[in-house]
């Protein structure tokens, strides 16, 4: 995985596999406190104690197509090698919350990557699932959710190619604004 946005795509895929209908993604970039965190919260089927413990075992997977599951172990490795950690809280039947923290200026921390593009790809490829996305930069946030988007767009599908491009542009503009306003 070259950047954190790719990890995000991967982790969200787990949520989708767990039958989630609502997925909240939060990216918190905080150069001031030297932290970067990424969290994914879903309302999927959740995991029991045993599954939670085995989560970081690369040879544990709930899938039947193959016997290895590298998504979470890779993210944990990335987080730990860049001075951070990975936490997963889950309740069967309620959902799962995964949070990865990184040291912002750590040499081994991968770049954040194109999160806006990742979000748009996820939203457009899974129109039946609702997403909420929050991006925080030094404590200031920008939020967008598919509920708002659907409200604004009426019956135009979110996976229309022109709409996708527009949503991506909107997210990027707002993210840039958050950063630009805070140049000291």
């Amino acid at each position: 995985m070259n950047d954190l946005a790719l990890h995000l795509l991967d982790i969200v895929q787990n949520s989708l596999g767990a039958g989630a209908t609502f997925i909240a993604v939060h990216i918190d970039e905080n150069p001031r406190n030297n932290t970067l965190s990424m969290s994914v919260e879903d309302n999927g089927c959740g995991m029991n104690e045993e599954q939670l413990q085995k989560l970081s075992d690369p040879f544990f997977t709930s899938r039947t197509t193959r016997r290895v599951g590298l998504g979470v172990p890779l993210l944990r490795q990335t987080a730990e090698q860049s001075g951070g950690n990975l936490e997963v809280v889950s309740q069967p039947g309620k959902g799962t919350c995964l949070k990865a923290c990184f040291q912002y200026d750590h040499l081994d921390r991968p770049p954040l990557g194109d999160v806006a593009n990742a979000m748009v790809l996820m939203i457009s490829a899974n129109t039946g699932v609702d997403f909420a996305y929050r991006y925080t930069y030094n404590g200031k946030s920008y939020e967008i959710s598919t509920l708002q988007l659907k409200d604004a767009l009426g019956d135009t599908p979110l996976n229309d190619l022109y709409i996708m491009e527009m949503i991506e542009e909107m997210i990027k503009e707002n993210q840039n604004d958050l950063k630009v306003c805070q140049i000291e």
Binding site: M1, Q13, T65, L74, N117, P157, E169, M170, D177
Partner: protein, 129 residues
């Protein structure tokens, strides 16, 4: 062209688009659409599925093809990732392997537009459940 920054901008832009009839009414005839599924599990993403998905989206927009691009999980062909499954209306699904940007364009040009098969098709020995 002004930048889109708020939901209101988005709404306005959408209306402009609708007036120029750029938006196809997809939801009406989903069975007439070409379905493109990009395998996006850990294996796929790590070998570049996102670039491929972006390239496919870009290409079908350019060629104005009635298609939807979606994601799917791992089909067990991790060695051959990124893989892309294309289902044309009335045809059986075809899975292409080792897809990169160039190959993605080839899939659209040759298979989707001209029904021509290209190298790297995986035997479909699975069923969607």
């Amino acid at each position: 062209m002004t930048k889109i920054k708020s939901l209101d901008d988005l709404r306005q832009k959408k209306q402009q688009l609708e007036q120029s009839l750029d938006i196809r009414e997809k939801s009406d005839h989903p069975e007439n659409l070409v379905q493109i599924k990009v395998a996006m599990a850990t294996c796929g993403i790590a070998s570049g599925a996102r670039t491929v998905m972006n390239a496919l989206v870009e290409k079908i927009k350019k060629e104005n093809i009635p298609a939807v691009v979606t994601q799917t999980g791992c089909m067990g062909y991790c060695y051959a990732e990124p893989t892309v499954e294309v289902t044309k209306p009335g045809f059986d699904p075809v899975v292409f392997s080792y897809v990169d940007v160039k190959k993605a364009e080839e899939i659209v040009d040759k298979y989707i537009l001209n029904n021509e098969l290209i190298d790297g098709i995986l035997p479909a020995n699975y069923q969607t459940i």
